[in-house]
């Protein structure tokens, strides 16, 4: 079907997939590009003359050709565009943006959805590959608004607010956690640094294409900017020895002071009126905060207790940033206030309350209460707190506690897309949106249902029938190779388990 399937070789009993990069990368921020995923073989480098320019794609091809040892070893293939329309035939289609279609068709072309509708009335392009999905369920790829997969780390121990730090500089795209995400039907993640800071750094919105480098995961704005969020937290997690705060009031004061400084910085920029000589020196921290203050970047704010939630609303009021509240263990106590403020909430669903004092009143009912009160509600995995492969289970448990099926399914797709401001591209099956979808064996909320295939931009990135993919769906020997645990909350007890 696709002429860019990776070559497979066996080496010391293991499958090594040698990836070829014969096509140019997708357009992106040139500053982020790396010439090759793997170090240049010494022999090859020695043959180069100083100043010799070699196109990146040839260089990569050369890497592969030189030897197994230096080849770009990847369990996935390169991120490439879809090259032929695909029509998924006969499934029950859940577009999320509209009512279910009992015997439906989804047509995708050039990485986008081109048609969604009943089988009887939806035209299929003549050159389309037809995939029989009768008896199956097709829905949008899942959107996880809060994940720690990829072994990324944000800010370090030097201070409580580090808006200059980008998680994208530390993520291993070969981490088997990403393969488990695809096995669970996840196609977009908001990859977050931890909650051990008031502001632990910039998150990255990741599209789970087959990837060699982090570039392959990026979403870009029209101007080429990489789409990111900003991670903030309050409550007990960021509290520790100075320069970190020791109380909730101190936490808020540190945040306010830093944002005031950013407002000053902005005033200086405005006063320069474009005159380079009068411009203040560039400051990465200030640039990060101005992205927030100017509304280019959404704050993703960890908060458990009701009073911490109210503190975030207060800061938002003062500085006017866009914010999504995360975890919100006690959102059910202040649902009315959240509804009035129209602040979206992304909810963590776990098996039991407790684990720390702030989560003692955590409840499966949060999603149902927020729905009832009209608060925009998504769900998230907080992987490793819950397993990405069981993300749909979170939606089902929310239904167990009273949320409607429709809103629960929306909460793991379109609602999450809205909270990342990506709803014009993902989260539902509508013509023009990215062709990110999953094929399920049945009802998305049933325990025995399996994710059979996951597609990103019209390319299959997971297939349960492929033994190599299946390992990551069910676990077993080798299923966590290269997977790094992220101590998401700088909690000593959690880090003990990863010792």
């Amino acid at each position: 079907m696709l002429d860019n399937e990776p070559l497979t070789s066996r080496y010391q009993g293991r499958d090594f997939r040698l990836t070829r990069r014969l096509w140019p990368r997708r357009e992106g921020n040139p500053a982020m590009k790396t010439p090759c995923a793997e170090p240049l073989p010494a022999a090859f480098a020695a043959a180069m003359l100083p100043g010799m320019m070699i196109p990146a794609r040839l260089l990569c091809l050369a890497c592969v050709a030189t030897s197994f040892a230096f080849a770009a070893v990847s369990a996935t293939g390169p991120a490439l565009a879809q090259d032929r329309p695909v029509a998924f035939m006969g499934a029950e289609v859940l577009p999320v943006s509209g009512p279910p279609i009992p015997a439906g068709v989804v047509v995708v072309a050039n990485g986008k959805i081109s048609a969604v509708g009943p089988a009887a009335t939806t035209p299929i392009p003549a050159d389309a590959e037809r995939i029989d999905a009768a008896g199956k369920v097709i829905m949008p790829g899942l959107v996880d608004t809060h994940s720690h997969v990829g072994g990324g780390w944000g800010g370090d121990a030097s201070g409580p607010m580090q808006p200059d730090v980008r998680i994208l500089d530390s993520i291993n795209v070969r981490d088997s956690g990403f393969r488990k995400c695809r096995a669970g039907g996840l196609t977009t993640l908001n990859i977050m640094p931890g909650s051990g800071h008031l502001l632990s750094g910039q998150t990255v919105y990741a599209k789970l294409r087959r990837a060699e480098t982090i570039d392959d995961f990026f979403y870009h704005a029209a101007d080429g900017r990489i789409l990111t969020g900003m991670k903030m937290a309050n409550g007990t997690n960021p509290q520790k020895e100075p320069p970190f705060p020791g109380s909730r009031s101190k936490s808020a004061a540190i945040v306010r002071q830093k944002f005031l400084k950013a407002q000053d910085h902005r005033r200086k920029i405005e006063a320069a009126k474009g005159d380079a000589a009068k411009m203040p020196d560039r400051d990465l921290e200030m640039e990060g905060l101005l992205d927030v203050l100017d509304g280019r970047v959404i704050v993703h704010h960890h908060a458990h207790r009701a009073d911490d939630i109210m503190t975030v609303l207060r800061l938002r009021e003062e500085f006017g940033f866009k914010v999504v509240l995360h975890h919100v263990s006690e959102a059910w106590k202040v649902a009315g206030e959240l509804a009035k403020a129209r602040v979206p909430c992304s909810v963590l669903v776990v098996d039991s309350p407790g684990g720390k004092i702030e989560t003692m009143d955590m409840s499966l009912v949060t999603g149902a209460v927020l729905e009832r009160e009209g608060v925009p509600c998504a769900l998230h995995t907080d992987d490793p707190v819950t397993d990405s492969r069981l993300f749909l289970r979170s939606a089902a448990l929310a239904v167990r506690a009273g949320m409607s099926r429709e809103k629960a399914i929306e909460a793991v797709t379109l609602a999450g897309a809205r909270m990342l401001d990506l709803h014009d591209r993902i989260g539902s099956l509508e013509p023009g949106k990215d062709a990110d979808l999953i094929i399920l064996s049945g009802d998305p909320l049933a325990v025995r249902t399996k994710v059979l295939q996951t597609w990103v931009e019209g390319r299959k990135v997971f297939d349960r029938d492929d033994p190599d993919d299946r390992l990551f769906a069910v676990g077993g020997f080798g299923s966590s190779r290269d997977q790094k645990a992220h101590a998401c909350c700088t909690d000593v007890r959690l880090s003990e388990t990863s010792r």
Binding site: D351, K356, M360, A396, V474, G476, S480, E496
Partner: protein
């Protein structure tokens, strides 16, 4: 219903389990309870369609087709789509570990010494712990709980019902097993411990063997004719002597195949009964485990993957072991963070979705679990003479969206709100 009362109603369901609040559990046993089910899974024979379980004075008197049973006058009547025995969690630390995860509610492990088999679970158990009530609301009526993995020998375990104001009221086996950990988790915690041992796998095994060699000596001296030469009583030796006598099996928490193998080696050397716990890589050694006739209490399927020695866990392990003829049960395990406990009902759901038939999955949290922890003469199946422990569901218990609608323990209705 206005918004507030709706929210409160939902919260009542999710937070308290309705009348399942501890102080609301009636002490006196009702004269009789009759539980009707569209399907009654007795776990002592084929399921009964349209069946009834009759409980009198806390014990099951009759399990039969609805029309064929004698219902005592004045019996409390409960109904549901699916009726099962009260569920059995084959291994947890709940009651010793509490939901706040603060120092004052964490008694599941003492890091002072690496080997402390004399620590009894009954001396730490808090029957009012909120997590016990949480589990009970999902139909879990019996738990095997006690000292957690994380030290070479962390202490004893016990079996309790999920009711009772005191441990005396709750307990059905005050000493069930001795909790042993091999592998990386057996190493003492960084700065916390006075000792550096065991620092390696081999050292851990040597230390454990040394304890049994000493205990054999202790017993020999104690049985000598000369009272003067008899050793002083020693709680540690007494606990290990119970293991050597076969009365207190070792519950060996292991994950890597290397450590599973080491556990089997120790069991064979000293002829001690053991139960393998967690056992992430058990599927690599099915022949040896089966040959040793050792049961396995498999890790929670949702245990965080990709971390240390559990990196090779799989959803299909329970099915693989069961197919190989190894007795298996499921557990909620010990959780050090959020969530503070898992729910064994959910674990069985994952197992049922990954290779186990419905009744096989149910057995892993009822009769098979009860057998492994030595209480199958009282719980785990619905048959005359067994304890009156019943869970009632409004659908397939393994479906995420099904509710546990009522729970009966020892003939008392302890929860009647859907969870």
């Amino acid at each position: 219903m206005n918004r507030l009362s709706f929210a409160i109603a939902l919260l009542t369901i999710a937070l308290t389990g309705g009348v399942g609040r501890f102080d609301a559990v009636a002490k006196e046993k009702p004269a009789a309870v009759a539980v009707y089910g569209d399907t009654v899974h007795t776990m002592a024979g084929p399921p009964i369609e349209n069946g009834v379980v009759v409980i009198v004075d806390g014990r099951i008197r009759e399990v039969a087709k609805a029309g064929e049973a004698t219902i005592p006058a004045g019996a409390t009547v409960l109904r549901g789509k699916v009726v099962t025995p009260g569920l059995v969690d084959a291994h947890t630390a709940v009651g010793l570990t509490g939901y706040l995860n603060q120092e004052q509610d964490q008694d599941q492990i003492d890091h002072g010494e690496p080997i402390q088999p004399e620590l009894r679970a009954i001396d730490s158990y808090n029957p009012r712990e909120r997590l016990i009530e949480w589990l009970r609301g999902f139909g879990i009526t019996t738990i095997h709980t006690g000292h957690a993995p994380g030290a070479l020998v962390s202490g004893q375990t016990m079996v309790v019902k999920t009711v009772g104001d005191t441990v005396e009221e709750a307990v059905i086996r005050p000493a069930a097993m001795i909790a042993v950990t091999l592998g990386d988790d057996a190493r003492p915690d960084g700065g916390d411990s006075k000792t550096k041992s065991p620092g390696t796998r081999s050292k851990a095994v040597a230390m454990l063997r040394g304890e049994f060699v000493k205990t054999v000596d202790y017993l020999r001296k104690q049985q000598g004719a000369d009272d003067e030469k008899k050793p002083d009583r020693d709680l540690r030796r007494e606990a290990f002597a119970e293991a050597l006598a076969g009365r207190l099996p070792l519950l060996v928490t292991v994950n890597r195949a290397t450590d599973i193998d080491a556990a089997l080696r120790i069991a064979a050397e000293f002829k001690i009964p053991i139960v393998l716990d967690s056992a992430a890589e058990a599927y690599l050694l099915t022949d040896r485990i089966k040959q040793a006739k050792v049961p396995v209490i498999v890790h929670p399927s949702m245990r965080r993957a990709g971390m240390g020695e559990t990196e090779n866990i799989g959803f299909e392990t329970v099915a693989t072991l069961r197919k190989a003829g190894i007795p298996v049960a499921l557990q909620s395990g010990y959780e050090p963070y959020i969530p503070k406990t898992r729910v064994v009902l959910f674990e069985a759901g994952i197992a049922a979705a990954n290779g186990l038939a419905f009744e096989e999955a149910l057995a892993s949290i009822t009769i098979d679990a009860a057998r492994i922890i030595g209480v199958d003469d009282r719980v785990g199946s619905l048959q005359p003479g067994r304890d009156g422990d019943v869970a009632i569901f409004d659908g397939d218990p393994f479906e995420y969206t099904t509710h546990c609608t009522a729970v009966v323990v020892d003939g008392r209705v302890v929860s009647q709100s859907p969870r």
